[in-house]
């Protein structure tokens, strides 16, 4: 049972359906990717989890019981459209947002100081937000999202607007928070970071849930049973009826890199045995799994 369970959520705005019977189970302690093209309904789902929007039907369970406003205090939310009070001092602003999340003034002050030191931005405390660059403001906003030690964080495109150095800083912080036991919902279009960070995903397209599950499991499920084989031999590998076909074979001074397409029902073991029966020396034998990016494009354009 996950920390967040969305059961059969429906939401429409007038005639426009934003979510159509969407059920997602987000396991505790994971980084969970919420994927989908623009306008698919991700933000609506995030707002429903945050209790900003009330669904027309279905329910959200937090730790197994219907979510309440008190639970929302344990969520940290970084919206895609960032925003801070422009005329307010960074420190005052961070204190305000922390206190809105239920922290005491003393607690908020101590925690914020720690985060400001960790991010190397101690001397911004007295600066006004309008004096900060976009990237600087993003750092402040990230801190205000996580300062109250939420057990669930919802980060919508957390890396956008950061330079590579700061994006790496944020990436490390996200992994560290996960290690500390937090659950993180990551909504992003960056499939590389999904492969790298996420344990599970849900893909929403046109208001409907298309697929949900573990990242590895999904990648294997959408693999088309291809093997990348590197071998050495004077003659090229021949395709074997009933076992595999050869999609490509590159010969580089006797060292070949080939892609084999296994026939239906054939296991990699069978295929390897077949290969070993031929006069070649096997250097490497690796299952080819598709990239998340390809799966995403395939699933979204298929319909």
């Amino acid at each position: 049972m996950g920390i967040i369970q969305c059961n059969d959520i429906c939401k429409s705005f007038g005639p426009k359906v934003a979510l159509d019977h969407v059920s997602v189970d987000i396991p505790k302690g994971q980084i969970f990717g919420l994927l989908g093209p623009n306008g698919a309904g991700k933000t609506t789902l995030i707002r429903i989890i945050n209790r900003i929007t009330i669904p027309n039907a279905g329910e959200v369970l937090f730790d197994g019981r219907p979510i309440t406003q008190e639970d929302v205090q344990r969520i940290g939310y970084l919206p895609e459209e960032r925003g801070l009070y422009r005329k307010m001092e960074v420190g005052d602003q961070a204190m305000y947002l922390a206190q809105l999340k239920g922290m005491s003034m003393k607690d908020a002050q101590a925690e914020l100081k720690k985060w400001f030191v960790r991010f190397g931005i101690q001397d911004w405390w007295k600066k006004k937000v309008e004096e900060l660059s976009k990237g600087m403001a993003q750092k402040v906003q990230f801190i205000t999202t996580v300062v109250h030690r939420p057990s669930l964080m919802i980060l919508d495109e957390p890396f956008s607007g950061f330079d590579p150095v700061n994006a790496e800083l944020i990436r490390r912080e996200i992994l560290r928070l996960k290690e500390e036991g937090a659950t993180i919902i990551l909504s992003t279009h960056n499939m590389e970071s999904v492969e790298e960070l996420c344990d599970g995903i849900a893909l929403i397209n046109k208001s409907k849930l298309v697929i949900t599950g573990g990242v590895d499991e999904i990648r294997h499920r959408y693999g088309n049973n291809n093997i990348e084989l590197v071998y050495t031999g004077d003659t090229a590998l021949a395709p074997q009826e009933g076992l595999f076909a050869i999609l490509s074979d590159e010969n580089n001074a006797g060292r070949h890199t080939a892609v084999l397409s296994l026939d239906a029902g054939v296991t990699p073991n069978d295929a390897l045995r077949g290969v070993l029966g031929q006069p070649v020396a096997v250097n490497s034998f690796k299952e080819l799994i598709p990239r998340m990016n390809d799966i995403f494009i395939k699933l979204v354009t298929e319909e």
Binding site: I52, P79, E81, G83, D92, L100, T145
Partner: protein, 459 residues
């Protein structure tokens, strides 16, 4: 509703505003300005005597001169023997501000004509005053020509009656402020204050809602607090700013007027019950000017034995129901503000910049302007039915009722009006919260009344 969160929201709304330079500036500058105006008015009044105009008169009719009575403002000198042409050339040289030439008596038409010559335009007031005095002379002459016993006496009696009526209707040369004049001024000022403050602070709530929406900070806020908490936290926070500003204005104006009074030697403060002075400075700062003005006139213009301006003022002011007035001022300000501020917050939630809000504001500015217009009617006739209705209908009552109170309002009407206002506020709060909740998250399109209606019906 989570009260500790509302408290946090109120705290931010309050402190960020009170810390602003513009807040400090208005808080300190307004009493200083009022003090400055009071000093200037005082000085002008004190100087009136010195500025009494010397007027040369050539009376060729032989009847007018006794009626040209010298006073504080005009000093008439009889130069009847001299030639008008010659006199004209030396008006300034002899220290006159103007020359009045009265023609020889036309015994057929039984009248005279008056010509006024002056280097600078002498003003309507002066020509009017001279005209009235000469008319008196001609009337007197005409009465004399009738051969009726005691006619002069009869006419005098009639005239005296007529004069009493005029006395109340027009304030002759600012000599006396009649009782209803003071009431009118007081009610006018109070009504205007409520109008101004309700408009000003409601607009402050609206632009603050728009700011949160435009800067997108609202999405984070709304994930921490409920929409209603945000809205009411903001409305209450701004209300506290308003009350702080009032309080500081009262104290500072009191201090400044006290100092000014001491420096200018206007010892009227001593004549007043100190508490009453405090109340007056709080109720209406202009009132203090009126006092300063009245006191200056008192010391300079009123002859011993006559009832002075100050006496009229004190007796009038002591008849004003101060406690009712002050309590009502705050009740009506707060309720009127809450009513309008909640609607303005809803409108703010529907737009992303102030320019887009003007169309949606129309249904709110119309009742406000209506209240403002009825206020002017109350000023003339506080018991007319439009005014009474205006003081009952919640959208205009905060402005109109305040204008009625100095003239006296039956308690049941006052209570009914307040209850109606309170009930309407509760309804407006409910409506506004619904619109606010939906509007605050709608971006990228200009909202119309249809959208507001749709949001209102949304669950």
């Amino acid at each position: 509703m989570n009260f500790s969160i509302i408290k946090t929201i109120i705290g931010r709304e309050y402190t960020t505003r009170v810390k602003k330079k513009s807040f400090l500036l208005t808080t300190f500058l307004v009493p200083v300005l009022i003090g400055a105006v009071a000093v200037i008015m005082g000085l002008i009044m004190a100087k009136t005597e010195d500025r009494a105009q010397n007027v040369a008169v050539i009376d060729q009719s032989g009847i007018a001169m006794p009626f040209l009575v010298s006073g504080d403002i005009y000093q008439f000198t009889d130069r009847s023997g001299e030639s008008p042409e010659e006199m004209k050339t030396k008006i300034e040289a002899e220290g006159y501000s103007s020359l009045v030439v009265i023609s020889p008596l036309d015994t057929v038409a039984k009248t005279v004509s008056v010509q006024i010559f002056s280097p600078k335009p002498s003003g309507v007031e002066f020509s009017g005053a001279v005209g009235r005095m000469v008319e008196d002379a001609v009337e007197d002459y005409r009465i004399g020509t009738y051969n009726i016993a005691n006619l002069g006496q009869i006419m005098q009696d009639v005239k005296a009656n007529v004069k009493v009526t005029e006395y109340t209707l027009d304030e002759e040369g600012g000599e006396t402020i009649s009782e209803s004049g003071i009431y009118m001024m007081l009610s006018m000022i109070l009504g205007l204050f409520i109008f101004m403050f309700v408009t000003m602070f409601s607009a402050m709530v609206m632009s603050s809602v728009i700011e949160e929406k435009a800067s997108r900070v609202v999405e984070v806020l709304i994930s921490s607090a409920e929409a209603t908490e945000l809205m009411f936290g903001k409305i209450i926070g701004v209300a506290l700013v308003a009350l702080t500003q009032f309080f500081l204005w009262i104290v500072l104006t009191g201090v400044i007027v006290g100092v000014v009074g001491g420096v200018a030697g206007l010892d009227f403060l001593k004549e007043q019950d100190p508490q009453q002075v405090m109340q007056m400075s709080g109720m209406s700062t202009d009132q203090m000017e009126a006092l300063g003005l009245g006191a200056a006139a008192d010391t300079t213009a009123v002859a011993p034995g006559e009832p002075g301006t100050m006496d009229v003022l004190t007796s009038t002011l002591s008849h004003v129901p101060w406690v009712t007035l002050i309590v009502s001022f705050f009740i009506y300000f707060i309720l009127g503000y809450l009513l309008y501020a909640s609607f303005f917050a809803a409108i703010g939630s529907a737009v992303e910049n102030e320019a887009d809000s003007s169309q949606l504001q129309i249904p709110l500015t119309i009742p406000l302007m209506l209240g403002y217009m009825i206020l002017f009617m109350a000023f003339r006739n506080p018991d007319s039915s439009v005014v009474v209705w205006g003081s009952m209908i919640p959208f205009t009552s905060p402005i109109v009722m305040l204008a009625r109170i100095p003239f006296g309002v039956p308690m049941w009407q006052l209570i009914l009006s307040i209850v109606l206002l309170l009930v309407t506020f509760l309804a407006s709060a409910w409506v506004s919260a619904k619109i606010y909740k939906a509007g605050i998250l709608v971006f990228g399109k200009k909202a119309t009344f249809k959208d507001l209606w749709k949001w209102l019906k949304m669950k």
